[in-house]
């Protein structure tokens, strides 16, 4: 079993897709990760948001998020599939820095109130 690394994977879908298509996309990518031997720890749907700038003349997008554990091979496979997915406007896959856990721990060490846990982003 190759060593798994933690990643955060966010992608933006075209806004005119309905909820079933959005859910399908979320499941599709979670399944790809699982089928290749990775693990999905969190699946989130951030919902439809206004983009801070237009992407391909589109002003809105549907944000989806996965927290996963995978090998580099799985990540390159994901990237390959994403390149051909025409519903996807933008993707970001980065290593999970375990933001929340680290901050909670730091706050505990300092013995102070913890930094507020981050909410699902709301684009103004």
């Amino acid at each position: 079993m190759p060593k798994l690394t933690k990643y955060e994977f966010t992608w933006i879908l075209e806004a005119q897709l309905d909820e079933t298509n959005v859910g399908a996309s979320l499941e599709k990518y979670a399944k790809i990760v699982r089928d290749q031997g990775g693990e999905v720890t969190t699946q989130e749907n951030w919902g439809r948001k206004k983009l801070a700038y237009e992407i391909d003349d589109k002003t809105d997008g549907h944000y989806l998020f996965l927290r996963l554990q995978a090998t580099p091979a799985i990540i390159s496979e994901l990237n390959r599939i994403l390149r051909f997915d025409e519903q996807v406007l933008r993707t970001l896959i980065v290593q999970d820095e375990e933001w929340e856990a680290k901050n909670l721990e730091a706050a505990k060490r300092a013995g102070a109130r913890p930094a507020e846990p981050h909410q699902t982003p709301q684009v103004a």
């Binding site: 966010t10 933006i12 983009l51 801070a52 700038y53 992407i55 997008g61 944000y63 998020f65 933008r90 970001l92 980065v94 820095e97 375990e98 933001w99 680290k102 901050n103 721990e105 730091a106 706050a107 060490r109 300092a110 102070a112 913890p114 930094a115 981050h118 982003p121 709301q122 684009v123």
Partner: protein, 84 residues
């Protein structure tokens, strides 16, 4: 006699601003938390300098990466609409 030697302006050591991330005990800055990041960009959308915001070096480095990631995801603008 030429010109009078100019008196060098003495720089007053200003009061050091506290780093907001250190005050909140933030260990890692998250790119998803764009409402917080928003306070560290200028109204043109540029990353604000440390001397403006008082962010410490360690957090400024993390902040820059977080802002760039948030921009990529269209959570933050590269340039504000009305300046384009």
């Amino acid at each position: 006699m030429g010109t009078m030697p100019k008196k060098k302006k003495e720089k007053k050591p200003g009061r050091k601003k506290p780093c907001k991330f250190c005050m909140d005990h933030v260990a890692a800055i998250d790119y998803k938390d764009h409402n917080r990041l928003r306070k560290f960009v200028t109204d043109r959308g540029k990353i604000a300098a440390r001397r403006i915001t008082g962010t410490c070096a360690r957090h400024q480095r993390q902040l820059a990466i977080a802002i760039k990631r948030a921009r990529h995801l269209a959570l933050l603008p590269f340039v504000r609409e009305h300046y384009r």
